[in-house]
């Protein structure tokens, strides 16, 4: 896969590709983990990156 193409097209397109590929091949635990990662990014997208917020990501 040419990742540079994905980079140029942006995150939304990458999300669409993730949906496409995972629908066909991935085990459920991986799907769940990817889902959790993207949900977290959307949830924390407006964070101002205070030290408290950074520290909450440890562990």
């Amino acid at each position: 896969m040419d990742y540079s193409l994905l980079i140029s097209l942006g995150l939304d397109f990458t999300k669409m590709l993730i949906g496409h590929f995972t629908k066909a091949k991935a085990p459920q635990e991986v799907i769940d983990a990817i889902q959790a990662a993207y949900d977290a990014i959307e949830q924390h997208g407006k964070d101002t990156m205070t030290k408290e917020q950074w520290e909450a990501l440890r562990g």
């Binding site: 896969m1 990742y3 994905l6 980079i7 942006g10 995150l11 990458t14 999300k15 590709l17 993730i18 949906g19 590929f21 995972t22 629908k23 066909a24 091949k25 991935a26 085990p27 459920q28 635990e29 991986v30 799907i31 769940d32 983990a33 990817i34 889902q35 959790a36 990662a37 993207y38 949900d39 977290a40 990014i41 924390h44 964070d47 101002t48 990156m49 205070t50 030290k51 408290e52 917020q53 950074w54 520290e55 990501l57 440890r58 562990g59």
Partner: protein, 132 residues
């Protein structure tokens, strides 16, 4: 975005790297890229750990070792990010990340350190790829 899947396989982890690469080399500021990687990593690793409860102890299984290594790499990334964001008020409640002044030696050092941490995290995650 809601992802659904019924079929087994292992390819999808490769897609994670597409998103990680995107996060690493996109147009957003490096501190935001690092934050997004840390956020995604935390959620991903927590989910992976839940799927492998045997990893809650110091299990030496490969997947457990790789999850621990990925957590360490994420925490090292946070260390580098906090160094990058360091300002007089950083650490006070509600004070956001303030990048160092561009063009200064301190900014170059902090940026290089943060880039190295991102690259190390990427390398560790590649090792995790085949284990899940």
């Amino acid at each position: 975005m809601k992802i659904k899947c019924d079929a087994p396989g292992g390819f999808a982890l490769g897609v994670i790297f597409a998103s990680i690469v995107l996060l690493l080399f996109g147009c957003t500021p490096i501190e935001r890229q690092a934050y997004n990687v840390a956020v995604a990593s935390k959620a991903f690793l927590d989910s992976a750990a839940n799927a492998h409860p045997e990893c809650q102890s110091l299990n030496q299984a490969k997947v457990c070792t790789l999850i621990r290594q990925a957590r360490s790499a994420k925490d090292a990334l946070i260390d580098a990010a906090e160094f990058y964001c360091q300002s007089a008020d950083f650490g006070k409640p509600g004070v956001p990340c303030q990048p160092p002044t561009k063009g200064t030696p301190a900014a170059q050092i902090a940026t290089d350190k943060l880039k190295a941490a991102l690259q190390y995290y990427d390398a560790v995650t590649r090792d995790l790829k085949g284990a899940l």
